[in-house]
Amino acid sequence: MVQMSRWKVILLALSLVFGLLFSYANALSPAQREALPGWLPKPTLNLGLDLQGGSYLLLQVDVDAMREKRISNLNEDARQTLSEAQIAVAGIARDGNGVVVTLSNPAQMEPALTAMRGLLGGGMAVAVDRTVVRQGDNAIRYAFTDAAVTAMAPTAVEQSIEVVRRRIDSLGTREPSITRQGADRIVVQAPGESDPTQLERVIGQTAQLTFQMVDIESSVQEAMAGAVPPDAELLMGEDGVTPYLVKRRVIVSGENLVSASVTTDQSNQPAIGFRFDGQGARRFGETTANNIGRPFAIILDGKVISAPRINSAITGGNGIIEGSFTIASASELVNLLNGGSLPAPLTVEERRSVTASLGADSVRAGQLATVIAFAGVLVFMILSYGGLFGGISVVALILNFILLIGAMSITGATLTLPGIAGLILTLAMAVDANVLIYERMRDEANAGRSPIAAMDAGFNRAIVTIIDANLTTILAALIMFFFGAGPVRGFAWTLSIGVITSVFTAVLVTQVLLVVWLRLRRPKKLPIAW
């Protein structure tokens, strides 16, 4: 130890410079930071949502529901296509990732196959995600390929992330972070004073808009009693009590929507104007032309918003939706519709939100506790080990604090509330390295060695113990990092950085300063020994 190499002094000086450079900005107010010249690095601590306020949402993408829905759409497509081709169907049964259609008359197999293949499109646009395969004499299997089913979940999650991002952007939330977690989850973190209720309502709504015909051949009462026709479904109105029996077949869906806007109806009530794309306009036009006088239903997320009667063919692809809207609810719905519908329902599995004022309270309490604990430890060390040895550990501890804040600022680590506890504990634990070194030196000095020999031996022996002891803490922190979530990770990160900086400073600062003292004073005995 006594033969100290020059690089250690240089390393110490460098670490001090960089530590200060990357941590000083935290001591300034935002206004002061703005006033600094642009070339100066000014990283600051990244506060977690629990300290700056904000919302954390863990959303589960219901991939199973989406798959079931898409398979049940195959059923409807097949039924519709064969009925248009006037082919009698004995039954349609679910089979794995698709359906098997049994024909009443095997002689109709060829035209049935042709009609079904039409579902896959033709020419340049043949769908590759589905197959139509003949099974035996009188059955046709219409199903998604395995590859398509496998791709559904990741695609749905990706699309959901996009939709969620557009919706949050429409709220004007600043710097939201939207990331995927695991196979089918999305984490949304929105800092600041955003309203979590609104955020959640906006994110969680599927916004699946469909236009379907109302079933007027069957009675709603019978359907309520359980006799729902196979091609129809029973839905509730927006009020939750009025039942509607609607055809399962979707005439036009939100996918064909080009734009939506807030408008007013004839009685000056808020309404939603919409415009379809070419395909949507054509299908809507055909259906309305064939069904004049009959009602159709406008359905949003499984609820019937309104069921107007078709007075004339609507061919332009424009229209308005009337319902019991307010201006606010209409514009929220317009934003949702324009942002696109979610491919699968999202459920909120976990949500945590903290207001900015509570966050600020926590920061204040944390700062106070840190300052007092830090000051207390410094005083304690000076009292215990005297001005010189205690003073050296104080210098080491202060440098440690600077390096820790600097390292957390440049790595963009997030400081959370438990992280503040980690910070305080780290400061207390940093003393341990000094204590181990000093105690060893005392032992050696008391065993009768000269100050130089005692310091040398004490230092070298203590280092082995210090490294062993601190590696275990790093190990614990790593485990927290892998198993923990959010705030706990922040704690683990603070703890790990703290252990590294504390070993670094305790060992290096102590060594360099003690050697300087040794050379200047050439002491006869150590002040901490008897």
Binding site: Q60, T347, V348, E349, E350, R351, R352, S353, V354, S357, D361, S362, A365, L368, I372, A373, G376, V377, L383, S384, L417, P418, A421, I424, L425, L427, A428, M429, V431, D432, V435, E439, R442, A457, N460, R461, I463, V464, T465, I467, D468, A469, N470, L471, T472, T473, L475, A476, I479, M480, F483, G484, G486, V488, F491, L495, P527, I528, A529, W530
Partner: protein
């Protein structure tokens, strides 16, 4: 320089406490504490968290924190209005935000399940509306948490896994750096600390949450740190005094490391004490768990991890030279 300053001179350089002599007594005491902690932690067994008061992290459910002014929060009113809406599993408590609330607001929190048939979003929405109506317009909602059943199950599973993995990793590390006898001793010390901390939470009814798991992991880190320092000295003395009986050797090593144990322990406890008093609110259970854990961890390094070596002994003598542990870079001088 006076005789008493620096204060470290007050600690005698050479102590001769016969720790091992009392090991049987303290060992039995530890055993009783561990067994009763286990009992209080798992009883009643039909509860998902046993005797622990789990937070929404592990049990699932909803939590709303609110503040009112100038009247203190009327807890009975909250309870009544939630019960009136048919919200299940209502728990209400008030808490103080540490010295920090200059605005003079009073804080409370309510935990509750979902209204039958409603999602947590809807339930929370309705609860907030009802409380705004019943507690007056100046009520503010400062924190909202909702954890679904699936996620809470995973969080609990992850927490238990993290603790188990931590203990096993520590054992392997000590085994690798020392000998298997030491690894086993360290593991017993860790189980002791973790179980007693569980016991503390079960008996005091403090909320057991994700941050509690983090604090227990930290206690594991600290306790093993302490144990390593003691083991390190035992290993060194095993080489130095080849003929000394293990019992005396353990006593010697504990005495030699005693002043370090006290110094570091006192510093850590002081810092955590400050945190427990000033950190307030959500940090309090965290700081208390760490405080308790460090006391227990220090005790266990002295009275569990070290004397337990006597139960199975350690390798000594000539063979010891071969079994010398691998050094990690920096070599210590003999």
């Amino acid at each position: 320089m006076s005789k008493f300053w620096p204060l470290i001179k007050l600690l005698p350089t050479r102590t001769n406490f016969e720790f091992v002599k009392h090991a049987r007594l303290f060992g039995s005491l530890s055993l009783i504490l561990v067994i009763s902690s286990i009992f209080f932690t798992i009883y009643p067994a039909d509860n998902k968290c046993g005797g622990l008061t789990c937070g929404v992290d592990f049990l699932g459910g909803n939590l709303v924190e609110l503040s009112t002014r100038p009247e203190p929060v009327d807890l009975a009113e909250i309870r009544a209005s939630l019960n009136g809406m048919g919200v299940p599993d209502v728990q209400v408590q008030s808490y103080s935000v540490p010295g920090s609330d200059p605005t003079g607001r009073f804080h409370a929190m309510a935990k509750f399940g979902n209204i039958e048939g409603a999602s947590s979003t809807e339930t929370i929405h309705q609860v907030k509306a009802a409380l705004t109506r019943d507690l007056g317009p100046d009520v503010r909602f400062t924190r909202t948490e909702a954890v679904g059943a699936a996620v809470s199950g995973e969080l609990l599973m992850n927490g238990v896994m993290a603790l188990a993995v931590a203990i096993i990793m520590m054992m392997i590390y000590i085994w690798f750096r020392f000998e298997w006898q030491f690894g086993l001793g360290a593991m017993m010390g860790l189980f002791h600390d973790v179980i007693l901390t569980f016991g503390l939470f079960a008996i005091t009814g403090m909320e057991f949450s994700l941050t509690t798991v983090a604090s227990i992991l930290t206690v594991i880190g600290y306790s093993i740190n302490d144990t390593v320092v003691v083991y390190d000295r035992i290993r060194e003395n095993l080489r130095k005094y080849k003929k000394m009986p293990l019992r005396e050797l353990i006593d010697l090593s504990l005495n030699e490391t005693l002043s370090r144990t006290i110094m570091t322990g006192v510093t850590a406890l002081f810092a955590l004490g400050v945190l427990a008093v000033l950190g307030g609110g959500p940090l309090q259970p965290f700081a208390i768990a760490l405080f308790f854990g460090i006391v227990v961890g220090t005790y266990s390094s002295v009275y569990v991890a070290a004397p337990v070596l006597l139960l199975w002994g350690v390798k000594r003598g000539a063979k010891d030279e071969e079994a010398r542990p691998i050094k990690l870079g920096m070599a210590s001088r003999p």
